[in-house]
């Protein structure tokens, strides 16, 4: 089963084409990493898939259904959730409130202005459990904007997976973290994405080859290689364009 597929997706900003025809299939339940040099268009790709920007041409399908014309919130409701490379949280709300908000839609609360949140036992327990899972329980009532960088990154991941999306897109979740923090974050990601489809942009090669079932290498808006880690590692074009430079 293909969870997410891109068919010759292109995106131009003004006269410059940034995504130059990407075709990619991601199997359901797969952990798929995207690597590539800075400015390759990885984040832009995420922005197109999640509906943040409209695509210029091509098709994007989620579980066989076209999503490239939908607004972000509708794509999210279909079970695709994403995180941001630059942390994007509700900074004047507490950590707990951030997580609870991220749970609301998937639990069917919609725009309710008649259900008092303090009475929603299941919802509150789920938010507390998530807080525990993210190791943020001691920061429960702190304003999200006052958290440390690593804590904010953890919250970012938590908000992305809270709604129980079946396809999860993480954009450099461990960037800027220390080694210990990265290890912890990776264990967390592994656990919370169990049984889900994960598409992740990551620069840390150790993390990538540890985690990925499949790897896609993007350079200059195009896919130059895609497949199982061993095959990608052996790929000559990849070694020349990218891995060689990194691994020395």
């Amino acid at each position: 089963m293909t969870a997410l597929s891109l068919r010759d997706v292109r995106k131009s900003f003004g006269p410059t084409e940034i995504i130059r025809g990407i075709t990619l299939d991601i199997a359901a339940g797969e952990r798929h990493c995207i690597i590539g040099p800075n400015g390759a268009g990885k984040t832009t790709c995420f922005n197109l898939i999640s509906g943040r920007f409209p695509i210029t041409s091509g098709e994007i399908l989620l579980n066989g259904e076209r999503i490239d014309t939908l607004p972000p919130h509708k794509i999210n409701r279909k079970g695709l959730s994403r995180s941001f490379q630059i942390t994007s949280i509700f900074h004047r709300m507490s950590v707990f409130e951030n997580l609870r908000c991220a749970l609301l839609w998937s639990r069917g609360y919609r725009y309710s202005f008649w259900s008092p949140l303090w009475r929603q036992k299941g919802l509150n327990e789920a938010a507390e459990a998530l807080l525990e899972e993210l190791n943020l329980a001691s920061r429960r009532d702190v304003l999200a904007g006052l958290l440390s960088y690593a804590e904010q990154r953890a919250l970012e991941i938590g908000m992305t997976i809270a709604g129980g999306a079946s396809v999860v897109l993480l954009d450099e979740p461990t960037a800027g973290m220390s080694n210990t923090e990265t290890d912890y974050a990776m264990t967390l990601i592994r656990r919370v994405t169990e049984g889900k489809t994960l598409l992740m942009v990551e620069h840390d090669m150790k993390v990538v080859f540890d985690l990925a079932d499949a790897i896609t290498v993007m350079v200059y808006g195009q896919v130059i290689a895609s497949g199982p880690p061993a095959a990608v590692r052996a790929n000559r074009a990849v070694q020349e364009a990218y891995l060689g430079a990194l691994e020395g």
Binding site: P72, S81, R92, A102, Y111, S112, F113, S115, T160
Partner: protein, 417 residues
């Protein structure tokens, strides 16, 4: 509810206050006090409902009076209907109808305005406000033109058999509805919509990626805030039995903004504080001075610059220090701030009053009375004293403010540890 006792005390005071100033020898109510308290009630509703937009949803609306005013106009017509028997609704429920009128208008305009963000949103609401103010003067059937529309509130239909002939009965009706409206608005902050309004305020974009359409959140928040503003307008119509263009003019929208901001937009109760303070100034200071609006304006500007979280925000920042039992240490620094502040205040008030009497006052043939004595506005001495007060006070205040800042910083650093 942390503030349960404070709220209870506030309500008890509001109930008891008219009786504290009752004239027992002549058996007369204190009319001035009751009309001021009534005004406060309406303004509390207006300011709280405005803060549903500004503070809670980050929406900078400039047409809030539209919903207040429309609630008011509609209520005049409802009361007229009730008076001639075509609308069998008791007085106590009239504010609910007013709220629904406000809601209807807010749904209409909100669907246009909330599609836009930030500046465009503010522009559209400005346009809506002006449009409605002009309409009020043009369409006589509903708005009555410049004279407005009038009614008689003695509709002889009450759940409790009240006639509402006296201002006191109307005041208690206002008080009841103010408490109901405030409680409902507080409840809203604890619902999914209320929380998502905060979320879209903090990060419009992120809300989309957790499944919410932020425009829908804003639209619903806007509509509900119009509902409450409408209730305020209904109470206005019942109190004055006349509604004119003033009730939806942009100056009232600006007032809503002032009250919410000065009181504090980051705390639910902030706008209540702002509404009480501004109404006090409006009814109290305006009796003493022509220039009260100047003072409100200067106060607003100072708040924007020095205390953007408003009065309630200032009080809130003292929380951690109070919990640590260190509030005592701030008494002396505050006293030291007070003296030069008074100097600045006296100097400023002196200059403003002198200036206003040189022009407007002279035209009206009034004599300036400052601090208990008559003052000759053409003599040099009062000008010199005011100027020196302002100048010396200002320099001294800067000095003391720096000292206060140091004490404050070291205290909060200590408390944080």
């Amino acid at each position: 509810m942390k503030y349960r006792w404070l709220i209870l005390a506030l309500i008890v005071v509001a109930i008891a206050l008219p009786w504290c100033f009752y004239d027992w020898t002549h058996h007369r109510q204190a009319g001035f006090l009751i009309s001021m308290l009534s005004q406060m009630g309406m303004m509390v509703i207006l300011a709280l409902s405005y803060n549903m937009l500004l503070g809670q949803a980050g929406l900078f609306s400039l047409c809030h009076a539209t919903f207040f005013g429309m609630g008011g106009y509609a209520t005049i017509h409802f009361l007229n209907g009730a008076g001639d028997g075509t609308l069998p609704v008791p007085m106590e429920l009239m504010p609910l109808l007013a709220g629904l009128s406000g809601l209807g208008v807010a749904i209409l305009f909100g669907s246009m305005a909330t599609k836009q963000r930030a500046t465009a949103f503010a522009m559209i609401t400005l346009g809506i406000g002006e449009l409605m103010a002009t309409s009020a003067l043009m369409f006589h059937h509903f708005f009555g033109g410049e004279g407005g529309v009038t009614t008689n509130r003695m509709i002889d239909n009450s759940l409790f058999g009240l006639s509402y002939a006296s201002g006191l009965q109307v005041y208690y009706l206002i008080l009841a509805w103010t408490v109901i409206a405030a409680a409902l608005m507080y409840f809203l902050t604890l619902t999914p919509l209320g929380r998502m309004a905060n979320a879209t305020r903090d990060n419009f974009e992120r809300a989309q990626f957790i499944g919410y359409d932020p425009r829908m959140v804003r639209f619903m928040q806007f509509a509900l805030s119009g509902f409450f503003a409408g209730i305020g307008g209904g109470l206005y119509a019942i109190t004055y039995e006349i509604v004119t263009y003033d009730a939806l003019a942009s100056s009232l929208s600006a007032n809503a903004l002032l009250m919410a901001y000065i009181g504090g937009t980051t705390v639910f109760g902030g706008p209540i504080l702002g509404a009480i303070l501004i109404t006090l100034l409006q009814s109290g200071v305006s009796l003493l001075s022509n220039s009260w609006l100047v003072y409100v304006g200067v106060m607003f500007i100072s708040m924007v610059i020095f205390a953007p979280t408003g009065l309630a925000g200032i009080i809130k920042t003292h929380g951690p220090i109070r919990q640590a039992g260190r509030l005592r240490l701030l008494v002396v620094p505050y006293l030291r701030l007070t003296i030069p502040s008074l100097g600045v205040l006296l100097g400023f008030v002196g200059l403003v009053e002198l200036m206003s009497f040189l022009t407007i006052g002279a035209a009206q043939g009034k004599k300036l009375v400052l601090f208990g004595g008559p003052v000759d506005v053409h003599a040099a001495l009062p000008w010199a004293i005011s100027g020196i007060c302002l100048l010396v006070g200002g320099v001294w205040l800067r000095f003391e403010a720096a000292g206060f800042h140091r004490v404050w910083e070291s205290l909060s650093a200590e408390v944080r540890r």
